[in-house]
Structure formats: C-alpha cells, structure tokens
C-alpha cells in the first residue's frame, strides 16, 4: 500500500543520519548560508523535529511570511467582530478564532471574545461545512475568508457551483505567496536559498517559484513537510550553492506537478481577481490579494457592509506597539528578539498574531522550545 510505504518513509532514521552528514559535508567550505522557508508548516517541521539543531554553525534556517492568520490585517478582524456583535453570523476557521485585533470593538479584540460577549460566531473545519450550516441559519451570514492559494479553490468552486446561499457574504482576505516571497527577499538582504511551500505549489505549480529563483539567482526547492523532505531540500540547496547553480527543484514530487493544478486555477480566475493587498504589520504588497470579481459581487462583504480597504498612502502599522511580528514574518527577527515573547505574549494570551496560529512562528517556538534552544542550553551547561 502506497500510504503505508509513505508512513514507513517518515521513520527513515538511517536516511536522516546520512542526510545530516551530507549537509555537514556540503556546508564545510561554504560561508554563512541563510535558507528561508515560506510556509508555517515547514517552520513547524523545522522546530518540532529539532532540525536547526542538526545544522552546522554556518547554516541558518529562517522563517518567512507563510502564515495566513499572522498576516490577516486588523481592519478585517475588527469588521468581523463588529458584524458578529450586530447579529451577522460569522463563520471562521479555528486558526483565526483567537486572532487579536489592534483596536478593540466594543471592548472586544477577537472573534473568540466576541462570542463570549454574545456575538454570533461559529468555528468550522471547512468552507463547505460553513455553507451547509449557513443554509439553516436565518439572517445574514459572513465567512472570514483567510488563506493562500491552497485555500482559494474551496471558495472558488463553491461559488461557481452555486451552492452558497445568497445572504452568505464573503470577506476575502485571501493572499498570494509568490509576491510576498519577492517582497520578503527584497527586505531580508542576503538569502542563499528558499524552501518553497509544498501545498501552495500543488496549485501554483513550479512557474512562479522558478521566476523567483531566476530573478534572485538562487536555488529554490519546493519541499514536502516530513523532516526527511526538509533535510533533502536543505541538502539540495547546499549542493546547488556549492556547484554555483540557481534554479528550481521540486522535491515534493509525490504531490506537486510542474503545471500545478490547472483546474483549481481556472476556478480561482473565474471567481477572483488579483489586487494590491494589505499584509498585517508589513503594508500593501502589490498584486498580492484576491477579491471577488463583479460577477460574484453579490457575495462581496466589502460591498454589502461598505468595508473600506486601506490604501498604500494611508496605511499605518496594525500591530500592537513593540510587537515584532512583522520582522519575524519577514525573517528579519526571531521570536526571542521580541520583548513580549513568552513574557506578556503567550499562546494562552497572545498579543501579536504570530502567537495565535499553529503556523505562527512565535506559537511554534513557544510550543516546541524554539530553534536549537535545547542545544544552546546543553552547550551552556557543558553537556554538548
């Protein structure tokens, strides 16, 4: 059975040892190497499996902007809270339920708090589940539509197939990853290679990542999410650097096709159009958002509830003062660089958005001890 064979592959201890040796060998004559991942799930794998502690000193792994919850602008959260308190039923994924807004709305700072204050909020697993529930719900409904390219097809297909009730409005905070990758690279400075998002790439295919590899002359590897996948991707990047190569390699071949998912992209293009969009704490990134086209504007929450999106010239940071989420999201800082991290900002009482989602860098580090922390402590006490 294919599935069982993949399970067996995940436990490949010997292969992990061999890859570790290969990585150390490849890194030997190289200078400082900075490898950025773009997906919160890759950061999860890196931290959960202690991959940073397997790296030689000159190989630094940094986390990028790949957490949709972390970059959802505060105005969208505030509006969803407000509507839920006014009697509009708001459906959200669990990941965004506790996401704090910058400004409180009637003393409330998240959909979770809104529900506790009598607001109408429900957590769902999928858009399809929300659509099914909304059919039996009286009055106006709203979906808090976060996500990247991976999530967009579920919305696009549902609208195209006509299964969404007509008083179910969609608040699109959908964002596109390649423009953010480009933006982050322009900010971080010297990055030697990229671990590109595996599941986003099942939709986009190789093309946008190949362009990034070409434009920035660096190796980019589309990676799977098992620890072995990430180690293979790191070794591949180091090998390409050593051989002076740039370009794109698909490591996650069992799931990602060169052309991506054309069917999903066709539906996305029918329902959404690309627009400039706000990323929390970062600003407006050109051509990085998706909004409903005129044909589907009857579902558009921005139109129904007169929600105004911030424009580039009037944009101001929507993070709490002192919170380092934007720098952490762009790979410019680590959670431990933030004055709030695990002091006043904890998974139980998050201040910034990166402490909320299971894919937020701060939440991952808080839960699993950060990158290489155990090793640092071991060195300090002289047992490593």
């Amino acid at each position: 059975m294919f599935k069982e064979r993949i399970e067996e592959y995940k436990r490949g201890g010997e292969k992990i040892e061999a890859l570790k040796s290969l990585i150390w060998r490849l890194a030997e004559e190289l200078g400082h190497i900075k490898i950025m991942n773009f997906c919160g799930t890759h950061e999860w794998t890196v931290v959960h499996y202690g991959i940073r502690s397997l790296m030689p000193d000159n190989v630094e792994l940094i986390a990028g902007p790949g957490c949709p919850v972390c970059i959802t602008p505060s105005y969208a959260i505030e509006k969803a809270i407000e509507l839920s308190l006014e009697g509009v039923k708001v459906y959200t994924y669990g990941d965004a339920y506790r996401l704090p807004s910058l400004k409180p709305v009637k003393g409330v700072r998240s959909l979770f708090e809104a529900k506790a204050s009598g607001g109408k909020v429900d957590v769902v697993y999928s858009f399809l589940d929300a659509v099914k529930e909304a059919r039996n719900e009286r009055g106006e409904k709203l979906f808090f539509g976060i996500g990247f390219e991976t999530t967009a097809p579920s919305y696009a297909l549902s609208f195209c197939k006509g299964i969404v009730p007509e008083d179910f409005y969609f608040l699109s905070v959908l964002r596109l990853t390649p423009p953010a990758a480009d933006y982050a690279l322009s900010k971080v400075g010297k990055v030697s290679g990229i671990i590109a998002p595996g599941h986003v790439s099942t939709i986009t295919g190789a093309k946008p990542w190949r362009e990034i590899a070409h434009n920035h002359s660096m190796p980019v590897v589309i990676s799977g999410f098992e620890p072995l996948d990430v180690l293979i991707s790191i070794a591949t990047i180091l090998k390409m650097i050593k051989e002076g190569k740039s370009g794109l390699v698909i490591e996650y071949r069992r799931a990602v096709r060169e052309d991506g998912n054309k069917l999903a992209r066709m539906y996305i293009e029918k329902v959404f159009e690309v627009s400039d969009a706000a990323w929390r704490g970062i600003g407006i990134i050109p051509s990085s958002g998706l909004e409903l086209t005129t044909k589907f504007s009857g579902y558009d929450a921005y139109k129904r509830f007169s929600i105004k999106k911030p424009e580039a010239k009037e944009w101001v940071s929507d993070l709490p003062k002192g919170c380092k989420c934007a720098e952490i999201t762009l790979g410019l800082a680590k959670p431990v660089d933030c004055p709030y991290y695990l002091k006043s900002c904890t998974p139980d009482r998050p201040i910034g958005p990166c402490m909320v989602s299971s894919e937020g860098t701060c939440a991952i580090w808080a839960r699993f001890g950060g990158g290489g922390l155990a090793e640092e402590i071991a060195k300090e006490v002289g047992v490593a």
Binding site: I146, L157, L228
Partner: protein, 72 residues
C-alpha cells in the same frame, strides 16, 4: 493553514467526494480532475488540492538515493 493530509476517496459525487481519513469519513470539495474511488488525495481545509502519485513518489526516492550517493 496550509497543512494538508492524505485521505482515501471512497465515493465521488460530481465536484464533491467522501474521503476516508484513517476511519473518519468527511465530505470534501474536489479541486482535482479525474479523481476516482481508491485514489489518495491531499485535503486542505475541506478541499482536495492534489492527487498523490505513487509513480512520482518512486521518482522522489530515486532523487534521494542519487543525492546521498552524490550522483545527481
């Protein structure tokens, strides 16, 4: 948010399918062409985004073997 898990398709009905995740059956939207009963799909937030391919997984294994043997 971009986490996806593999499940086995047990029934296809138009653009929807019932998928078995280790015994838990969930109805999902199919955003992939040509999915049939028995296929393994990766499902993210209730939408099947790709079909897993055994053939390409074999290719991945060859890639790893060559990387470790220094031939790629």
């Amino acid at each position: 948010m971009c986490w996806a898990i593999p499940g086995k398709v047990v029934e296809v009905k138009g653009f929807l399918a019932k998928v078995d995740f280790e015994g838990s059956i969930k109805e999902v939207i199919l955003a992939v062409d040509g999915v049939k009963e028995g296929d393994i799909v990766m499902v993210h937030a209730g939408v099947a985004i790709t079909k897993m391919s055994e053939e390409e997984w074999e290719e991945e294994q060859r890639f790893l073997k060559e990387l470790l043997e220094g031939r790629s």
